[in-house]
């Protein structure tokens, strides 16, 4: 009996998905709004897709789950989604031009910085949506090169399509 009660007390699964206090804002911005952030990047060049996206996914969590195929518990994820550099094979699968690849690989740090900023802006909104996400992305237009943004949008589009 002793061993079971002791184990129960500290049977804390040490996964990044199991923080004890839910819905902390700094964690929340990496969960529910990640999907909106990624969707806004796509919609910024395809605004007509916004309605379709809003219809398909009523909640940011289900949108996020559909986007990346992962099930997250509300406000409990500590991992961040980030852009990483691509090699020739991945670039070819994504249909990236050589200019897009060069720019994207050189500016992944900047893209992730903008991604963080957009996500946190959405987190402070009362009712974030795909449209507000797209508008927020446009506020940072010019901070990253057009080729890098174009590559990021193709990446986000493929992510959504999967």
């Amino acid at each position: 009996m002793k061993k079971w009660t002791s184990s129960l007390a500290v049977l804390t699964l040490l996964c990044s998905f199991t923080l004890a206090q839910p819905a902390r804002a700094f964690v929340g911005f990496w969960t529910g709004n990640i999907g909106l952030t990624m969707a806004g990047l796509v919609v910024a060049v395809a605004p007509m897709a916004a309605d379709a996206m809003n219809e398909q996914k009523p909640s940011s969590f289900s949108l996020f789950s559909a986007l990346v195929g992962v099930v997250l518990m509300d406000g409990e994820a500590g991992q961040k989604l980030k852009f990483v550099t691509v090699g020739d094979e991945v670039a070819a699968n994504l249909g990236l031009t050589s200019a897009e690849v060069a720019a994207y690989n050189a500016e992944t740090a900047e893209l992730n910085q903008v991604f963080e900023a957009v996500s946190s802006d959405l987190d402070r909104m009362e009712k974030p949506s795909v449209e507000t996400s797209a508008a927020t992305w446009q506020q940072y237009e010019g901070a990253v090169s057009a080729d890098a943004i174009s590559a990021a949008r193709k990446i986000a589009t493929q992510l959504i399509a999967e």
Partner: protein, 378 residues
Amino acid sequence: MIRFVLEFARGLAGVAEGLARAPLSPIFWIFCALALGALPALPAGAAPAVPTVVLLTSLQTPSVWYRSKNWKIGESLEEPFRQAYEKSGYAIRVVHEAGPRQLAEVLQSPETIGVFWVGHSGSSSTTDGKAARWDDAILDIHGNDLKEIFQRIHPNVKWLGVVGCNAAPIFDHFRAQGFYRSNESLRIQSFDSKVDALGGLTSLLNESVAILGDPARSWTINKGDDTWSRYPNVVARADLMTPPERTDCVRNRGIPLRIIRETRSDSDLVLLWQGRFLGILSADAPDTSLPEVTVYLDEAFFGRSKLKIKALRTHRGEANVAMPPFSLRFESALDSEGWQVFSDSRGNPIGTWSQLYRYTGDLPAVPFVEFEPFRCTD
């Protein structure tokens, strides 16, 4: 009673007489001087450091119905650690609710010989071949990702045990990138699956015996026995009690970079260079001076096309409240004006909990200087 006092006094008198008749031997007087503290017994700072085994926990305490409200999960984790190491001969140290600064200090201390870290973590291998992936993370109690801090571990550390879900791939990745080339005798043990706090710590304590324990005098929990509630008992290895010679101190080459914080804040800043841990810029500074730190851009990782430094806050402030930007100044052999913060069209730094600094100046033939990435035992 009176007789006892008289006899005692007589004895003291005899000792005094004997001392008065003692030959004026130099040995005698040196002994007296030492006894009186007239001479230092040992040169200052020469006391040998005792190797230290450290437990760091960084977990929120879960709500358990039969536990008191004052119970902390760290207490339950501290118990097996103490049972294993308190009488080992090593010094031990426990840090609960550890953050970036505490972790860095322990991992880089020459006195540290073994480290146990307990905290949430996660890694992702499901996005191989993708251009966007879930970043690996080793989290502290406040949600700060500390994984890069684990890149820099003092060569004196022989054991690192990390209790966290799926943390093992993170260290495999670091090793493949060359971060542990100065840690030939370091054993890193973690998990590549989900793990619970107490079970994981117990398992790692057991495994640490093979590295830190004298095999003849230490004992481990034997599998199959009903010893679930017992913990290993470690007796220190004699060869690990002796600090390494100064000549074993690691020396690298790099470009020194002095980073000064131009505004005071309540948050430390973790500094990363292209995903590599550079250092921590403390929020504090003595007197009225500004906080600053000197870091080195290691020659081994230096590439002329990638000079970007990311500064991450460790204190996140109030929820849903935008935090004011901070300002850093860089001083080095490079053009100080060449460091620019990544900003939007209005000049506002982009990023809520971090800021990205990029070097846009000229890159002259800057000489690399020798530096010691780790503090060596004196």
